[in-house]
Assembly symmetry: C2
DNA sequence: GCCATTACGCTACGACTCGTAGCGAAACCA
DNA sequence: TGGTTTCGCTACGAGTCGTAGCGTAATGGC
């Protein structure tokens, strides 16, 4: 996942795996305390208890290091079966919001994305290690909903791929924008309203989805899990 | 809009308005050529034909300067009346996508947002000069659609404000994510599909116009997991 | 055991950027 | 004309960058 392994090494002293873990943990710690702009590789090396040169031997620079450090945060995402499409969406969106609410994710991820606009290799790294890895959630959620009869099956694989990409952009984009740009928490109320919008659309106007299967609606709600 | 004006100056040499414009233009130029990370204030000053100290007298630092330089790009956004809510949305989303596709917006805006996660004043500056300023588009679009009978009127102002915020997060977030994270163009096909999803929701099975697929990808997904 | 190979810790280095201070000159107002 | 503020310029210490060089540590092959 992280640093590259230019060639399968045959002999010689192996790289310390503990060093890798320590460096990535130190990077997240530095992101929390200092943020992206004030994070220096020398500081990370000191925190991790390794030499600065060791860092440069494994990562090309700050960008790649931070991407790898942040990517590990997203591996926690799961899609528990909550019984309905709406509940499934709400559950995973809340998880995503919790991750994006962490300071190390906020500062690190956005800055890395900003840098990736001028660095194709970095953008690919982000996509491979963070973004595309989570599309499995959309795929599984759709498959479940189709089995339940909540969504119509999609026979055309190309069209289906486009839809998955679209849903992913909408969901991830909305949560990111809410959390980072608007600067307000993606809490349960917001997630509920968002899910209602995603399922029913603007014309359904937040008040109650066309089907009576799920939680959604402006009313004060309680049990949803 | 941009630099502060600490106190209404009474006498003395006035600040050069041309310098302000030249500095902001030079900042955008530097963003295009160098990107955020390699942009230095000394370089911007040279491009603008002013002294570096002049720059520091007007802006607190790189963050504030870039926010002001990028903010001007968003003033072009308009909401022409295209006759229907769907057409209005598609039109304004395409405009937004065109702005976000510019390199100076990509690199500058994302980096500024990343920095704003650790700087409340900066986040407020971004909201005031960029984000909130565009909410007028959502407000006007909704009002139009309600006059046309496409959307139900919303009597409760608090609920209405929440809805506007939600829509804004969804629209802006989706376009940003598509453009910057997924790294693919928010072209007409995508905008059409997105608008259909926004209006009708997932359950409406957003089947729009028939289109030949061109997008890369074509993941081997077949509703399975 | 010995050697080739690779990773590691440490130090030092030139190059660069940062943000500020200080100066004299320029532009405006009363 | 005097008072006030801005501007251009130079110079500066502080900090970071990324790399080179060296001796040492850990592994596999013979």
């Amino acid at each position: 996942m992280q640093s590259r392994t230019p060639v399968p090494r045959a002999s010689g002293r192996p790289r310390s795996a503990e060093a890798d873990a320590a460096i990535l943990a130190a990077t997240r710690e530095a992101l929390v305390e200092l943020g992206w702009s004030k994070l220096t590789l020398g500081d990370v090396a000191t925190r991790a208890g390794v030499a600065k040169t060791t860092l440069y031997r494994r990562w090309a620079g700050k960008n790649e290091l931070v991407v790898d450090a942040v990517a590990e945060l997203f591996d926690e995402l799961r899609l528990p079966d909550r019984g309905s499409l709406a509940a499934d969406i709400e559950g995973v969106v809340l998880q995503l919001a919790a991750i994006l609410d962490r300071p190390e994710a906020k500062s690190g991820l956005m800055a890395a994305i900003a840098e990736s606009t001028r660095d194709d290799a970095l953008r690919e790294r982000i996509r491979d290690s963070i973004v595309d890895r989570q599309k499995r959630l959309v795929l599984e959620g759709r498959a479940r909903a189709q089995r339940r009869g909540e969504l119509a099956p999609e026979p055309d694989p190309a069209e289906s791929a486009r839809t998955v990409d679209l849903i992913f952009d909408v969901v991830a984009g909305a949560v990111v924008h809410r959390t980072l740009v608007s600067g307000r928490p993606a809490d349960e109320d917001w997630v509920r309203a968002f899910t209602a919008l995603l399922l029913g659309g603007l014309r359904a106007d937040g008040e109650g989805p066309p089907q009576d299967d799920g939680p959604a609606g402006g009313a004060p709600l309680t049990a949803s899990s």
